[in-house]
């Protein structure tokens, strides 16, 4: 073989493998995630989940935790974890999609539907939006009442049949499966019922508020719509 071609073939081969990986890398990574021992999977985000925080995982004492529901409601609430567990419970399985490109398939969620939660507080007629506050200040996000009342949206308490862990939002997080993950506020400690819209944390960094999967965060190339 031509000596000259050997190094170039290696160079182009690596580039080619990279290009193939950009198209089919996910299946290879999923396989690696299954084959790797749990110790490695604990350090590398091989099981699919990546933990994105803006201030670090807040430590929350379940004994003193309260979820406040206030704003445009007849009866402002302050709910303990025990109170939340008493409310009607729903379950669903859905895929989780992060806007940055990774997804986790078949996540089992259990928690409370927002219309059940709001029924306790009694929203006033002018209520239009729910603003979610996180213990991880200043992370906030907003859903319209219509979005929040979607059948698969919930305030989750359990993930994969166990209580949420710290990195996944213990004790409560928003689950909105048909929107990108940044809409799913973790460590929710307050839901304010509002008449006006307030942009969420990543929305002030340029992301779309109506973050429908596959139908949002366009417009960089064609210009703002």
């Amino acid at each position: 073989m031509n000596d000259r071609l050997l190094g170039r073939a290696a160079f182009l081969g690596i580039l080619g493998a990279g290009a193939v990986g950009m198209l089919w890398g996910r299946s290879v990574a999923d396989l690696a995630g299954r084959l790797l021992p749990d110790q490695v999977a604990g350090i590398l985000p091989t099981k699919g989940w990546r933990i994105y925080t803006i201030r670090g995982v807040p430590r929350i004492d379940p004994a003193i935790f309260r979820l406040r529901v206030d704003g445009l409601v007849e009866r402002p609430l302050s709910l303990s974890l025990g109170d939340l567990r008493e409310l009607p419970r729903v379950e669903q399985v859905s895929d989780f999609h992060c806007v940055t490109g990774w997804s986790v398939k078949n996540v089992h969620w259990a928690g409370i539907r927002f219309d059940d939660l709001l029924a306790e507080a009694g929203p006033r007629p002018e209520a239009r939006w729910l603003q979610f506050f996180s213990e991880e200040v200043p992370y906030v996000d907003t859903l319209s009442l219509e979005q929040a009342f979607a059948p698969d949206a919930m305030l989750a308490l359990d993930m994969d049949k166990k209580p949420l862990t710290g990195p996944h939002g213990f004790p409560t997080r928003v689950v909105m499966p048909r929107m990108y993950g940044y809409k799913g506020v973790k460590w929710v400690n307050r839901i304010q019922v509002r008449h006006d819209f307030v942009p969420g944390y990543w929305e002030t960094h340029g992301y779309d508020s109506d973050a429908w999967i596959g139908k949002s965060n366009f417009g960089f190339i064609k210009g703002q719509e």
């Binding site: 000596d3 050997l6 580039l15 990279g18 950009m22 990574a29 933990i51 925080t53």
Partner: protein, 217 residues
């Protein structure tokens, strides 16, 4: 000034030393090395759950990572445009040529080596290809959140895999450049530009023979 096969014979090295890398090559190496470690540090914070949680401040770390990458690309482009392009081309031709002796070297035989030994050639090939793939997958990741038609699930896997592979590569490189007794003298070539002639004659005999033939010594 005579440039032949990337060997600058001027300015003349000290007596007993031979010139191995010009200013362009060294500038390129240290620019890339600095950017690599800055990108590795910020990248690991963005990637590893334990570090992400410990550092927090995701938006800020992301900005630093992206702007470091932009600065890296601009600096590398500038060095190539303003620097000794002829010398770089000659280096790359030399790196691409994996001859019989090089293949023997990779199989563990102590065959005579040129200015770059076969391991150094592979290191350069991998580093360059990885840099291009890092840049391509990084641009796609940056674009994905702005234009979701580019939200494929491959680029993030490629970017992650490159992180692990280049970490392994750079650890090997650091060991050979800083610790391993017979190779660590090569570091001087990358800092001062020249290396001891007796060291070069022992470890890179084909290089010295060829330059002696060319300069007619």
């Amino acid at each position: 000034m005579q440039t032949e096969r990337g060997i600058r014979t001027s300015p003349s090295p000290k007596l007993g030393f031979v010139r191995r890398f010009g200013r362009t090559q060294r500038a390129l190496h240290w620019t890339h090395a600095t950017a690599f470690f800055a990108l590795l540090g910020t990248g690991l914070v963005l990637w590893l759950p334990a570090l992400s949680v410990w550092v927090g401040r995701r938006a800020l770390v992301k900005e630093i990572h992206v702007w470091t990458a932009v600065a890296w690309a601009a600096a590398v482009a500038l060095i190539i445009i303003l620097g000794d392009r002829k010398g770089l081309r000659a280096d790359w031709r030399e790196i691409e040529r994996i001859d019989r002796d090089d293949r023997g070297w990779l199989l563990g035989r102590r065959t005579p080596q040129g200015r770059f030994n076969a391991g150094q050639k592979l290191n350069a090939i991998f580093t360059t290809a990885f840099a291009l793939l890092f840049a391509a997958s990084g641009v796609l990741l940056w674009l994905a959140v702005r234009e979701s038609r580019f939200r494929w699930d491959g680029p993030i896997v490629v970017h992650d895999a490159l992180t692990l592979l280049s970490l392994a590569l750079v650890l090997g490189h650091l060991y050979l450049a800083l610790v391993h007794p017979t190779t660590r003298h090569a570091l001087r070539g990358m800092t001062r530009g020249d290396v001891r002639e007796d060291w070069a004659r022992e470890h890179h005999p084909k290089w010295i023979e060829e330059s002696e033939r060319q300069t007619g010594v």
